[in-house]
Every structure is written in structure tokens, then in C-alpha cells.
């Protein structure tokens, strides 16, 4: 196979004395849809935070697209082609739906601050370009009708969609989705999964997905990584994971989702 798009090599992070994640290894290849699962507190979101620069790993290296990214801050990681959604929805609540996406489109236009202050033609051109691109993203997610509403006034399911639309507008090669279907009913989840499949094709994305709904992960992911107590305990195809002893053990005590 070719070089991996994302290579996570022995990455770990420590908060105070507590090792939240350690010896985490992962390789993602272009175009894959991979799941990251594990019981509560296994370190899934912490791993996401390290992949996106929100937390700086205390050991190991993360290489994305040939660049070492584990010392970069989140906006640099994003510009490098990794963007994400948040488990606990972090939209810009007092901005309109359209403006939420425009913020992520920030680097699409290049008009300077002075051109905006003096309202030069480059400002209008740049803003128009951003508007057009942002509206296109909203359309894909069926959010264009809500474009002038404040994000906080959207219904829950729509907020989850807007999170993805916004992450997509940042122009990623790798999209990290942190429990995108949390709190959705089965129909909504199904629609969302179709949508994810659609954008993956349309934008040539590689997707890494944290999800609690095991049926869903098993259904759509090509490969799965399993974390428990901050350590990788298994990786492989859904079929392999389904029969992995360690995985079954890790999930015992919780409701068995397999």
C-alpha cells in the first residue's frame, strides 16, 4: 500500500500524573472510513484532541500528509487538512447558520484587513466567494433554508448537521467526527450515515469516526480501532473486532453492544 495519510506513532498524553492515553498507534490511508470505539473514558475524545492540536501529546509523533503535526496549534492542523466536529456541539451560538460556515471558510478568501476596512473591491469579491461556497455546503446538508437563523435556535439534529457542514467547510482531507449521531433517533441516524457516505465520495475524504452506536460503526466502517483505559487493545475489520476476546472483555459490565 502507499504511504498512510495519517500516521500516529506511539502517542501518549499525561495530565498531572494520570496517563490518559498511551502507546497509541494508528494508520489511516486515503479514502478510508475508520471507526474509533471504546467504553466510556477510554480516551477516544482525548485522542481526537491530540490529532487536532487541542492537546499536545507528551510522547510520540503524529504525521499527517508527510508533516509532523503534533506540535502545531489547532488552526495550523486545520490548515494542514484535518478538521473535526465536537461531541458536545460547539457551534458559534450567536452567529447565523451561514456565518458559522463562513468562519470555517475563513482561509478560502484572502482579502486583507485593510481591504475590508476601506471596502476595496477585493473585499467584496472575497466575501462573495465565501458566501457562495458556504451556501453550497449548507445546501448539501439541507440547511440552506435556515441560513439566517442563529445557530442556537436550530433544532438539535440540525445543529449536529451544521457541525459537520462547518467542519467540511474548513477544507479537510481528513474529517474527524466525534459521535455525530449522538442523541439522534434511528431514522435521523440513517439519514446522517447516508450523508456521510455522500460527502466522503464528493470531497474525496478520509473519515475517522468515534461512535457509540456499535451497529452503526460495524455497518459502515472498513476498519476499527478499539481503545480501552487509554490503550489500543485491538484493530482490524469489523468482523475481527466482533470476535476479539479483549474487546468483548472491555465491554463486559457495560451493556454488551455486539
Amino acid at each position: 500500500m502507499s504511504n498512510p495519510l495519517l500516521k500516529v506513532d506511539h502517542v501518549g498524553i499525561q495530565f498531572g500524573g494520570l496517563k490518559a492515553v498511551q502507546k497509541f498507534n494508528m494508520e489511516l490511508f486515503e479514502g478510508e472510513l475508520v471507526g474509533l470505539i471504546g467504553p466510556n473514558g477510554a480516551g477516544k475524545t482525548t485522542s481526537f484532541n491530540m490529532l487536532t492540536g487541542v492537546y499536545k501529546p507528551t510522547e510520540g509523533t503524529i504525521t499527517f500528509d508527510g508533516k509532523v503535526t503534533n506540535k502545531l496549534s489547532p488552526h495550523q492542523v486545520t490548515k494542514n487538512g484535518v478538521s473535526r466536529t465536537f461531541q458536545n456541539i460547539r457551534l458559534f451560538k450567536e452567529l447565523t447558520v451561514l456565518d458559522n460556515v463562513k468562519v470555517a471558510n475563513h482561509s478560502l478568501a484572502h482579502h486583507s484587513m485593510l481591504s475590508s476596512i476601506f471596502r476595496l473591491p477585493t473585499h467584496f469579491k472575497g466575501e462573495a466567494k465565501m458566501e457562495e461556497a458556504s451556501l453550497a455546503f449548507l445546501e448539501i446538508f439541507g440547511l440552506d433554508v435556515y441560513k439566517d437563523e442563529l445557530a442556537k435556535n436550530l433544532p438539535y439534529g440540525m445543529q449536529r448537521r451544521l457541525e459537520i457542514a462547518r467542519a467540511l467547510a474548513a477544507g479537510p482531507k481528513l474529517l474527524l467526527l466525534d459521535e455525530p449521531a449522538a442523541g439522534m433517533n434511528p431514522q435521523e441516524t440513517k439519514a446522517l450515515m447516508d450523508l456521510i457516505a455522500l460527502i466522503r465520495k464528493k470531497f474525496d475524504l478520509t473519515i475517522l469516526l468515534i461512535e457509540h452506536d456499535m451497529g452503526l460503526v460495524m455497518g459502515i466502517c472498513e476498519r476499527i480501532y478499539v481503545l480501552d483505559h487509554g490503550e489500543l487493545i485491538a484493530s482490524g475489520t469489523p468482523e475481527e473486532i466482533r470476535h476479539n476476546k479483549k474487546v468483548i472483555e472491555a465491554y463486559l459490565g457495560e451493556e454488551v453492544p455486539l
Binding site: F15, G16, T45, N49, V54, Y55, F86
Partner: protein, 292 residues
């Protein structure tokens, strides 16, 4: 023995900062609010002590106690009337309300009695100067240190050995959990304000005895400095407030002693900024991080 003299002066002013800082740190620890009005409670304490000594002629210790009682009532009133509604408000709203309360106390005091300063009587306590190792130690200094130490021991006792102290620690650790365990959070917060304000009141009386001159705006600068002391020691930490206060007092005295007295107030702010930038958790503080 010049430096020893300065050290003693520094500890004297430092213990006043420390007493005020305790109130800041306790309140911040429990409701995450910078109680800007705390310096004004200190000012009210100084005035109550003044009236006790000069108008009611009740002597130093009763004046101190009356000041502490009145200040604790004032502190609880402030909490109940203004801050209680703010528990779920934004930090900005809370801070601005605190600034508002501070201005209200200051200017209501001026409105009632005018802005003119008062002077504590020089015979507030017996006055005598001792010479130890060539260092002049006044009886005022001894009274300040003795009062501070007694109050701090008392506070340690309350926080660690009594039921209300246990409740205070529980609420500051996790308000929701404390509530679920049947702790009356409202009363605990009020008790925190009462104790913190009583300490500020005591600091006010001590300040008056030591520096003589008091006025309605006197609380602003010591208030801000005490807050700096609390940050220096690690906000939320009681030993931190004591250490921070003493340290700040000593540093200020040194800055004055080496000939930069007009820069004294700036020194405190420089310390604050250095601490905030390089060790925001302070000397005794714990690092916290935002959950993502």
C-alpha cells in the same frame, strides 16, 4: 539591622493584605467570583472600628469584634442581595455586578458622611516601642501580628475541624455533588461570605491602628493588592492567601526601601502579571484545564 526592620514592616502590611486576601480566595474558591466589593468591606470595618474607639469608647478588642460582626452582616447582605442571582450568570456579568457593588458602597459612604478622612486615635492601644537586636518594634506591630495569627489559627480551625468548614470545602470542590449530599449550599456560601468579611473587617481596624488615616476610598488599593496576594498564593488556597499576602507586603516594603516608593503600587501589578503569565495557578494552586 536595617533589613530586619524592613522585613518587620513588610510583614505588618503583609498581614493586612493576607487577612483581606483570605476573603477573596475563599469566595473565589466557592463561587468563582472576584468579589471587588471586598476591599470596601475592609473600609467599612476600618470606619466601624474608628467609631468604636472614638465615639463609643469601647476599647480596641470590643471595637475589633463589633467591626467583624458588622462586616460579616454586610458581606452576607451583599451576597444575598446581589451575588446570589448571579450563580448561573456569565463571568462578565458577575464581575461587573461586583464592580457595581463596590462603587455603591464607596459612594454611599461618601454620600452619608462626606469624603473627608478620619484619623485613628494614637492611644487606640497602649503605645510602646521595644528594641530587639537593634530593631524598633512598636506595640502596634505586635498587636497586628498577634491578631493576624490568632485569626488565621481560628480560620484553620473553622475550615478543618467544624461542620461548616467541611461543608465549605465540599461546596468549593463540587457544588452540585455537595447539594446532592444534602449540604445546604446557600447557607454555606453565606457562611463563607460572613467569615471572609469578618476577616476583612478585622484587617480594616488593624489598618487604622497601624496607619492612622482612613477614608471612604481607602479600600480600593489594598483590596486590589489583596487580590493580587490571593492570585500569587494560588487563588482558592487558604495557606496561599496567607503566604501571598506576606510576600507581597515584604516585596513592597523592599521596593520602597531601596528608593522607589512612588513605584510601590506598580510593583504589585508587575508581580501579578508575571505570576499570571508564568504560573497562573500561583504558588499553592492547582492547574485546571478546560474540558473539550
Amino acid at each position: 539591622m536595617e533589613w530586619l526592620q524592613q522585613l518587620i514592616n513588610g510583614i505588618s502590611i503583609g498581614s493586612i493584605y493576607a487577612l483581606i486576601a483570605l476573603g477573596y480566595t475563599m469566595v473565589y474558591g466557592i463561587i468563582k467570583l472576584i468579589n471587588f466589593a471586598h476591599g470596601d468591606v475592609f473600609m467599612i470595618g476600618a470606619f466601624v472600628g474608628f467609631y468604636g474607639l472614638t465615639h463609643w469608647h469601647i476599647g480596641f478588642i470590643p471595637s475589633l469584634l463589633v467591626a467583624m460582626i458588622i462586616c460579616s452582616i454586610l458581606g452576607v447582605l451583599i451576597e444575598r442581595l446581589a451575588y446570589k442571582r448571579l450563580r448561573n450568570a456569565t463571568r462578565i456579568a458577575a464581575l461587573i455586578t461586583a464592580i457595581g457593588v463596590s462603587l455603591l458602597i464607596e459612594y454611599t459612604t461618601i454620600f452619608i458622611r462626606g469624603a473627608q478622612p478620619e484619623a485613628y486615635p494614637s492611644d487606640a492601644i497602649f503605645s510602646k516601642t521595644f528594641t530587639v537586636f537593634g530593631t524598633q518594634i512598636t506595640s502596634e506591630t505586635i498587636v497586628i501580628l498577634a491578631t493576624t495569627i490568632i485569626l488565621m489559627l481560628l480560620l484553620q480551625f473553622i475550615v478543618h475541624k467544624t461542620k461548616i468548614g467541611k461543608a465549605m470545602r465540599a461546596v468549593s470542590h463540587d457544588m452540585e455533588a455537595a447539594k446532592l449530599m444534602g449540604i445546604n449550599v446557600d447557607n454555606t456560601i453565606s457562611a463563607t461570605f460572613a467569615i471572609g468579611s469578618a476577616l476583612a473587617g478585622a484587617a480594616g481596624v488593624i489598618f487604622g491602628v497601624y496607619y492612622t488615616k482612613i477614608d471612604p476610598l481607602m479600600g480600593i488599593i489594598p483590596g486590589v493588592k489583596a487580590f493580587i496576594a490571593a492570585v500569587l498564593g494560588g487563588i482558592g488556597s487558604i495557606p496561599g492567601a496567607m503566604t501571598g499576602g506576606m510576600l507581597l507586603g515584604v516585596v513592597e516594603t523592599i521596593v520602597s526601601a531601596v528608593g522607589f516608593s512612588t513605584w510601590r503600587d506598580a510593583a504589585a501589578f508587575v508581580i501579578l502579571i508575571l505570576i499570571l503569565i508564568f504560573k497562573p495557578a500561583g504558588i499553592f494552586g492547582k492547574n485546571t484545564r478546560e474540558k473539550v
